[in-house]
Symmetry: C2
Subunit: 246 residues, 2 copies
Amino acid sequence: MRLKCIVSYDGTNFSGYQVQPGKRTVQQEIEAALSRLHKNQFVRIHASGRTDAGVHAVGQVFHFDTDLTIPEEKWPYALNRFLPDDIVIQQSQYVDANFHARFDTTSKEYRYIISQQEIIDVFRRNYCYHYPYPLDLDAIKKASEHLCGTHDFSSFCVARTDVEDKVRTIYTIDLKKQGQELIFSFKGNGFLYNMVRILVGTLLDVGRGKIKTDEIPNIIAGRNRNLSGKTVPGHGLFLYKVSYDN
Amino acid sequence: MRLKCIVSYDGTNFSGYQVQPGKRTVQQEIEAALSRLHKNQFVRIHASGRTDAGVHAVGQVFHFDTDLTIPEEKWPYALNRFLPDDIVIQQSQYVDANFHARFDTTSKEYRYIISQQEIIDVFRRNYCYHYPYPLDLDAIKKASEHLCGTHDFSSFCVARTDVEDKVRTIYTIDLKKQGQELIFSFKGNGFLYNMVRILVGTLLDVGRGKIKTDEIPNIIAGRNRNLSGKTVPGHGLFLYKVSYDN
């Protein structure tokens, strides 16, 4: 049987999602927990995509195959018992044997949180990027409109990458103020490596007047990483939701 | 010159506030940072009181004496540069040479946060006590009223303790629901060792019907630790505010 799981994790103490020898990663911890549940038989999991070091997930999705006959609603409890406390399975569901957590995604939502508090809130330090500078939110919103739609996002991607097709569609970019925090939400059909963090870095430059709103179409058209803003830190980023057709 | 500082810290990775040989403590980290600022001359700090392992502070207060002529509003920035990221100085103020952070307190506020979410929120795991059981909040509020006022709180204190006078005054106990979290606020003229955590443990027993509201006066009168509820974990507790006359 194939099981689909929604998992949240605190990325602070992980070297990212994907297994790397000698590093603590989310995938390695989940596979270790699953293997314990399966009498030490190795179980490979397949996630919707990787996340980098320090990056968090509210709703990452992965699937795996199992012979165990645990009711789907009991799976989170069964697995959480074997997982470290910075990984929590939220929900599990038996799915069709053809389901694939990576290839079947229809859209993803990432959120990025910025704190504008003068002195950082110690309890939020790992969950937002401390950026206590005045920002022109209207300019950021206008620039966001230019970024939405289907574009070649080469200017918003790590220069060295194996991915050839850099065309992606951003459905919406939302900006919400909550107390002293700004929450960016990006919904799209997929995101390139570091794309959300470069988009946020560029929008912050717009907010501070370093890049003009009107320049955004040229930055996109230039297809050159040097035209966009810096890559903001991973600890402000959350893989918020992964969607599928069913 | 004597400087009063308001400091917040994330207690997760500390063996409490007070210096203990071979352990990482808040006091030791602040004194180390201050000593570096003072050209390696040791600087002793005096706080409003200790906090235990895992317990957090939003507004702990300490004082120390210094010869450095840094303007008071610059002190947080000067000190935060030398502090680890789980300790943040929020505010500093030059005070009278007679001021004492411990002896001059007029009241303290502690908060205790409980999460009633079915499956724990991974980002809140170190900042609340996961307690997903139905609670009778009206019963808790009535029991809280019995606890307010001036009482001998021996029933709500670690049995083995050096403190002889166990009479304290609780001014108010408030209970607020925020999403799936319950926030208890305790204001009083002082609190005994583990007192807030035992008060919360007892109120949770009331909320689950294990202790009746009417029994609270007898539990207080009994002056016996065995009559009250269990000590809830430190990681849900916050030293929220320390008040002084001036």
